[in-house]
Assembly symmetry: C2
Homo-oligomer: 531 residues x 2
């Protein structure tokens, strides 16, 4: 029995994005009970961090989780940030694809306008409850509180119980109750997520109280707000034909030549003249809104023949080599590590990104398995730890694509941890849940180059170690005494400890020569306290 077309299409409907995610909440990271709880904490904490940094405030964040039933927990996250003005609070927390970040060309952790509204949706469908909000918008006179739910049919907020208060209170506090979730310590739980967040964001102070009542304070290690990433202009290299046309159509410049200089970074008068010579058919004196697909194609081709200065690194905030070193020492106390920071590069659409990587060897690096070790990978994007979906991530693909044997390193049997952070104005996440980076060719390549450089560092160490194993351990032993000796002598003589230690090091090194690369670091035996 064959059916007519009209019959089939009579059920044609348009759906709201909220309905879509209600049916596909796994796409937002709500799959699995442990992961779902991490997703909630992740969304609220990254929002708090972004808000504080944008307002120029040193973040002070508190996360509390309490058990309220079987597989049911209440999550409260509060910050000292700028808060949310009343007229925006509903949309900010209960409208999917609304927000301040999506259209701006600046590095932030959140960028989609989905996360917080997703939490509201998840609370609603698992416990039937709205989220509770208390906020004191900076610059306003009073704090207020309210409840917020999401009208999924229309993707619109439902704000109730609005009340103002004179309570002394700062920032934003969100409380939600969630079902189908589970709190677990362990490699993929909330605690580990927060620990990694603290490590990659040394300027934050964070308190965590778990459902067992255990309290943990991650202490601020750096007392300055990171420089705010500057909104940047796109770099011409890597722009797509379509991007250029869209920028041109939206431009208010009088001429194409002026438009190019005003819209993109690194385009000078001199570069425009170069482009004019290469793309002869394109009239750079005409109005940008007259640009054709052919013009754009020719210009994009010409861009590739010009030598450009790298993209402006100030648009990106990295973790920094020093901080990566401190972080890895804290977590892994490795025997040796090598850190590599690449220069900014570009992927699709002229979007700049920058890769930092490290390879740590020994200590707590790698993962203990039955009969030895296997290597593991710690992934970060814009200083946010990525805990799930490692299988489909550019970082995993890059690390697995390296011929480790060439570096005398075996990811299958040695205690190795590979650390990678990708920073960008726009991280191309594989999914809406933002737990992995799409394996774009340029990004995978940069990660490979960074990790390979650090692998070479480890190779030098491991082969040196094999050659001079006894030498090294003797050196270490003596240096262990030397450290203590320097401290004692310093107390006695009031001479600076480091000065004495330096002298002793020179002395000892003469007897036990050992190579020390500029960015290679041998880590002492002592595992420092976390935080």
């Amino acid at each position: 029995m064959e059916v007519e077309a009209e019959e089939i299409f009579k059920e044609f409907k348009q759906h709201s994005i909220s309905e879509f995610f209600k049916k596909n909440r796994q796409m937002l990271g709500y799959s699995g009970m442990v992961r779902s709880l991490v997703t909630v904490v992740h969304e609220y904490v990254t929002n708090s961090l972004d808000a504080c940094e944008e307002a120029g405030i040193l973040p002070d964040i508190s996360v509390g989780i309490t058990e309220t039933g079987e597989n049911r927990y209440s999550v409260k996250v509060s910050d000292n940030g700028p808060g949310i003005p009343k007229e925006y609070v509903g949309r900010a927390l209960a409208t999917i694809l609304a927000g301040t970040k999506f259209h701006r060309y600046v590095q932030q952790r959140g960028q989609q306008g989905i996360g917080a509204a997703g939490c509201t949706l998840f609370s609603q469908i698992t416990t039937g409850k709205p989220i509770q909000v208390k906020t004191f918008p900076r610059g306003k006179k009073r704090a207020y509180s309210c409840s917020i739910a999401l009208d999924t049919m229309n993707n619109k907020p439902i704000v109730t119980d609005y009340a103002e208060t004179d309570e002394a209170f700062n920032g934003l506090e969100i409380t939600g109750e969630f079902g189908g979730v589970k709190y677990e310590k362990g490699e993929r739980g909330v605690y580990e997520y927060l620990r990694r967040t603290a490590l990659s964001n040394p300027h934050i102070q964070m308190k965590f109280v778990g459902p067992d009542g255990e309290e943990k304070i991650f202490v601020r290690a750096v007392d300055t707000v990171p420089e705010r990433p500057k909104p940047t202009r796109p770099h011409p290299l890597g722009l797509a034909v379509n991007d250029l046309i869209e920028f041109a159509k939206a431009s208010k410049s009088r001429k194409l030549s002026v438009f190019l200089m005003e819209t993109f970074s690194r385009v000078s008068q001199g570069k425009v003249e170069e482009l004019r010579k290469i793309a002869k058919e394109v009239d750079l004196e005409k109005s940008p809104d007259k640009i054709t697909w052919d013009d754009s194609e020719r210009l994009i081709k010409a861009f590739k023949e010009v030598r450009w200065i790298s993209p402006d690194p100030t648009s990106m905030v990295t973790i920094g080599e020093d901080q990566i070193g401190v972080a890895l020492k804290n977590i892994l106390a490795p025997e040796f590590m090598h850190i590599t920071a690449r220069k900014p590069a570009i992927f699709r659409g002229g979007i700049p990104f920058v890769v930092e990587a490290a390879v740590a060897f020994g200590g707590y690096a790698g993962r203990k398995v039955d009969e030895g070790y296997e290597g593991n990978i710690m992934r970060f994007a814009n200083r946010v730890p990525l805990m799930f979906d490692s299988g489909s991530c550019a970082i995993t693909e890059a690390v697995k694509g390296i011929q480790w044997k060439r570096y005398g390193v075996d990811m299958d049997s040695q205690p190795i941890t590979v650390f990678v952070n990708v920073s960008s104005v726009h991280i191309p996440y594989s999914g809406v849940g933002k737990e992995s980076i799409s394996p774009e060719e340029e990004i995978v390549n940069e990660i490979k180059l960074a990790v390979m450089e650090s692998a070479r560092g480890v190779q030098r160490y491991v082969s040196g170690k094999k050659m001079a194993n006894s030498e090294t351990s003797r050196y270490k032993m003596v240096m262990g005494y030397a450290n203590q000796l320097a401290s004692d002598l310093s107390t006695l003589t009031k001479v600076d400890r480091e000065k004495i230690k330096g002298m002793l090091e020179v002395l000892v090194s003469k007897h036990y020569p050992k190579a020390k690369g500029s960015r290679e670091e041998e880590v002492g035996e002592a595992k420092e306290e976390e935080g």
Copy 2:
């Protein structure tokens, strides 16, 4: 310098879902040049198959790809389906989240209303061109053609060049031109995608012409349209509190008790009485729209204490054991295989699903690597091959979670192919690009059980093989003669060939006894022709 809240929120905006995917096209499967081309073909072909089957038509599909420039290809997909009525064509092909499938509770390949509009978007941003459509809506008087683009700011179609025609033409033909794509043969290319589609859909006839002019016809193997999956009612087991409330609020039934029977499958009068006894506090005589969160919670709890009949399998269309056997023989010509079909099960929200699995050993199974073999996995969802994002897929997780050593099978060194197809009314894809299944616990478990059963089959074969290697080969040799003998005798005596063969088999088996499980199949040496 601290900033006020108002200052930050003044840039607050709401964005369309089209703008979101324009910026995040990797989430739709448009990442990497080879994959992007497969995504286009995949979206159009699955839409054609769904449309044909829904209209009760045996699908006859043609896919043509031509190179039009550097990394630029034109893709034309045509079918003999019901076509699209004029008043729906714009929205069907250029509005994200519009369609006929999303809200229906029935198994189809597409379910989101994103795929075809995503292709239009991708064509537009990579070549600046609209897609070309020609269609003869079944039941209408004339065919028509038009061009369709997507207004991304408003997520609305732009239809131009509309023209009617009297041309003899059937079905739907879509042509699009795409940039930043690449055609490649190989394990993850268009050709392999189509081959696997043909194998898991034996009722389709498909022609493919590649950019090199090479023509391939995948011949229809089964002459009946698969039974249309019946829209089903949700099963009470596994329903979430929120789901039950939403069903109740939308119900027109007079009483909760009636609502339960009318809305869900397997709820009889008897079951209602059981529920009444368990959930004493819930008044089943009240109107469904009076249901409270507490009522719903109590009912959900009660559901778990009642014994239910499994979900109705007619809502799902599987590949079927026979067809899996034929398909695997065609592709892999394995030495041995074991196929397992599980009963329907349920995951989140009472959604039924069913798993079919097979483990093939030897022949072309597994993947050749340097010094031997490694096992590989062929993944399908609703008979659609999944080619990418294997790392984050429930199937991969399940297969990797099996302790293969216990089955005397080594996925790291033996020629093993694991085949899994998951069918469901609503596959919980990990991402919008639908290339992997979210690892929901119930689904992972079912896959594990299915694969483990087949692994046991392989174990019996492998150990039997070791024990009786010579025995088996002698049996095979003799049976080779027996087959021929049966044919000859049949021609001579006019007695049915199968009858004679059966007698000979009994005779031979007495001399060479060997175990043969019901669903285990030993595959002959001959590799049948594909198609």
